[in-house]
Structures are given as structure tokens and as C-alpha cells.
């Protein structure tokens, strides 16, 4: 029996469940390796070569190289793991989260200061009101 997923109708949201976790295992474990300063330095020196040490799909590697976090998440990445890439790049969690919304860094920061993205219109797919517009 397939996993029950009552959360699939939430807009703009990927729940990191067992299926995602299986798909993203090596991608996330690569991210985890960036917890060590030595690995961060090796990754920064030659990203492609470092990624090639991991049994990740080419698509996953390309998503990492492009820093396309939405793509990484679709391919099984989890934000807490992906955050290690952001940390390696010296980016804040807010910059990372904002990069997934299609907003500029300033627009996202301003939205948060004004109280964040509203829940109204963002509960179910089909009633979307992305970017708080």
C-alpha cells in the first residue's frame, strides 16, 4: 500500500516523507558532509569533483551546482540538510528560504517584517495567493 499523504494539497510545500527521504538519501548525505570544515573547503575548491564522489543523480548534482533549492527539494532534498550548502556559501537561512519563493531578497525580508506570508489563500492548492500579493 502506498503511503497516505493528506498533505499533497498544500500549495508550495513538499513534505519530507519516507519517499522523499529515499529519493534524496545521497543528496542529503552529501549536504551532511559539509558539516566538516575540511569538506567545505574541498567542495568550494572544486564543486563538481566533490559532487562526483557521491552516488547522486546528474539531475541532483546540477540542482546543487545551480543552487536551485526548489529543484533540490523536488529531488529529495530536505531543507535542514540543504542549509549546509547555504552555510558553506555564507548565506543566511532567510536568504535560502527567500530564494525559493520567486521574490527578491529585499521583497522577502519586507514581507516577513510586515508579518509574513498570510495563511488566507495558502491552505489548499487552487486558492493560492503566493508572495503575499
Amino acid at each position: 500500500m502506498a503511503l497516505a499523504k493528506p498533505y499533497l494539497d498544500i500549495p508550495g510545500t513538499t513534505i519530507f516523507d519516507a519517499d522523499q527521504s529515499r529519493k534524496g538519501y545521497h543528496l542529503n548525505q552529501f549536504c551532511m558532509s559539509l558539516m566538516k570544515a575540511g569538506n567545505r573547503a574541498r567542495f568550494k575548491a572544486d564543486e563538481r569533483a566533490y559532487l562526483d564522489e557521491w552516488p547522486m543523480s546528474e539531475e541532483q548534482k546540477q540542482a546543487v551546482l545551480a543552487r536551485d533549492l526548489n529543484r533540490c527539494i523536488a529531488l529529495g532534498g530536505n531543507i535542514y540538510f540543504l542549509a549546509k550548502i547555504g552555510a558553506t556559501d555564507g548565506r543566511s537561512f532567510q536568504q535560502m528560504a527567500g530564494s525559493m519563493t520567486g521574490m527578491s531578497e529585499q521583497e522577502y525580508r519586507d514581507m516577513m517584517i510586515k508579518g509574513g506570508r498570510p495563511i488566507e489563500g495558502n491552505r489548499f492548492v487552487g486558492e493560492q495567493r503566493m508572495a503575499g500579493k
Partner: protein
């Protein structure tokens, strides 16, 4: 008659946003952006000085720091003598080592496992911002933390986390375990994480002020009913990472009123949006002496 057993004196609830830790570590707490956040903890720091416990059982979640995908324990209790602050990719936070309480931790583990809660026992673990940011918020920047801390990690990274119900019942078992420990320790249970926030996808930045404040109301007044709220409500209403709030129910379950005692006193309540991507919520509940 002098009390001879340990008891739970209070529970503390707070968000554990990493940017709050960074603001403290980099001396930015006075900046206009951060001032309102830290103002909400001024009372708490004084309260903590006046009510320093012997031990904090600190419920938090690891954010892919100590646990990778190799091992995902639903509940993990730190039984070591000490725990180092984790390097989460920016270098470790400049905060003191966390000194555990191995004897009480072992006692809690032995008691609640025999009450059917299958804890994972951890003898070596680094602790990340989930644990150290709440300590910084309540204790400031001391050379050593003012008391022992038992790290209690809950999986909220890979879905599903434990249910609110399970967390609430675990809190009750923890209270019984603490009260059967034959040393007169003052113990606080802290529940951390939340409140509404979503860190991923096009819906990132979600905040639900109404949900958060209703959660605080219900946590205080009717945690039993709140504990029955299903995961989907947390995720839909409070964001994919808002589900961390189930951890608050462990701390709430450990309070005396849940076992028929007196209602706790709400000594502090605070709510502010935003800290980075997150709504900050904070409560202190005291058991009647």
C-alpha cells in the same frame, strides 16, 4: 517534612530560531530589528536567575546536526556527562559545553521505556541551535550554563514526527519518572521550536498569527484537547516546519495539573513576528509549590 524526591517546578516554551543565536553571538541584540524579540525575554532572564533549577530536561529537535539520514530516532535522550555545541556549517556557536545529568537521564530513560515509550539512548551527541538558542535566550551569555541540561531530541525532520497525543503522554510519563527520582532536584521541562514557519518551497515565509495565539491559549487551558490535533493541521496552518510545536506538548504534559494537580501559573507570555522566517512564541508556566 523535607522533600526527598525530584520535582518539576516549571515548564518553559520557546522558539529556537538559529538567527536569534547568531544575533546574540554577533552582538546584534540592540539593533531595531532584534530589539522587540529580546525585549520579550528580559523578564525571562530575570525569572531564570531567580528560579534556576538543578536540571533542565530540554526537548528540542536536531536539525541534521547530530543525526543524519543514517539514523532517525523518534525520541532520543542524552545520557552523557556533557555535550558539545555542534558546527552546523557556520562553525560551532561560541557557547559553553552543555553539562548533562547522566544519573537522572538514565533514570528517566529506564522509567519511561518501561511505560512503553521507546526512547533511543544517546551517549555521544553534539547539540545544535535547537538546544543552545533557548539556553541563550533565558540565560544570556554566561561562561558556564547555570544548571545541568538533559538533551531530549525529537524527530521532526522526516515525516511523520510523533503525534501531539504521543508527546503529551510522554510528558506525563516524564513527570512520573522525575518524581520517582530520590534526590530533591528542581527540574524544569522545556519545549522548544515553532511557532508558525515554513522554510521551504514557494510557500516559505508563511506565518499564522491566529493559529499561534490560539495554540498558546489552548496549551495553557486545555492541552488534553490540543494534543488531539492531527499533523495535517499543524502543517497546513502553521507551515511545514511549524509542526515542531508538537514538542511543546511534552513539556506541557509534564505539568502537575495534567495529573490532577493545581493549574499552573502563567508567569510570562510573549509573541512576536518575525525572527528571520519565524513567529516567536514564548511561555513560562510554574507549578504551584
Amino acid at each position: 517534612m523535607a522533600r526527598t524526591n525530584a520535582r518539576i517546578t516549571a515548564s518553559v516554551y520557546t522558539s529556537h530560531v538559529p538567527a536569534i543565536g547568531a544575533a546574540i553571538d554577533h552582538g546584534k541584540t540592540g539593533e531595531p530589528y532584534w530589539q522587540p524579540v529580546f525585549k520579550g525575554y528580559e523578564f525571562s532572564k530575570r525569572w531564570m536567575k531567580d528560579n534556576t533549577p538543578d536540571v533542565i530536561l530540554l526537548v528540542y529537535n536536531d536539525h541534521a546536526s547530530a543525526f543524519s539520514l543514517e539514523l532517525i530516532p523518534t525520541f532520543a535522550i542524552g545520557c552523557a556527562a556533557e555535550f558539545a555545541p555542534a558546527d552546523e556549517g557556520y562553525g560551532a556557536r561560541p557557547v559553553p559545553q552543555v553539562i548533562g545529568h547522566a544519573e537522572l537521564a538514565a533514570h528517566v530513560a529506564q522509567s519511561v521505556i518501561q511505560e512503553d515509550f521507546d526512547l533511543t539512548i544517546v551517549n555521544r551527541m553534539d547539540v545544535d541551535h535547537g538546544l543552545t538558542v533557548p539556553l541563550s535566550l533565558l540565560c544570556g551569555q554566561p561562561q558556564v550554563w547555570p544548571c545541568r541540561v538533559i538533551p531530549f531530541a525529537v524527530n521532526v525532520v522526516q515525516y511523520p514526527p510523533p503525534s501531539g497525543r504521543r508527546c503529551f503522554m510522554l510528558g506525563q510519563a516524564i513527570r512520573r519518572a522525575v518524581e520517582s527520582y530520590d534526590e530533591p532536584l528542581r527540574v524544569q521541562v522545556w519545549g522548544t521550536g515553532g511557532m508558525s514557519h515554513q522554510l521551504q518551497g514557494p510557500r516559505a515565509g508563511l506565518i499564522n498569527r491566529e493559529f499561534d495565539n490560539a495554540f498558546l491559549d489552548r496549551l495553557i487551558a486545555d492541552p488534553e484537547r490540543l494534543s488531539k490535533m492531527p499533523h495535517i493541521d499543524y502543517v497546513r496552518e502553521a507551515g511545514s516546519e511549524g509542526i515542531e510545536l508538537v514538542m511543546w506538548l511534552i513539556a506541557r504534559g509534564a505539568m502537575a495539573d495534567v495529573a490532577g494537580g493545581a493549574k499552573p501559573t502563567v508567569v510570562h507570555r510573549f509573541y512576536h513576528v518575525p525572527a528571520s522566517n519565524t513567529a516567536v512564541g514564548h511561555l513560562i508556566l510554574e507549578n504551584k509549590p
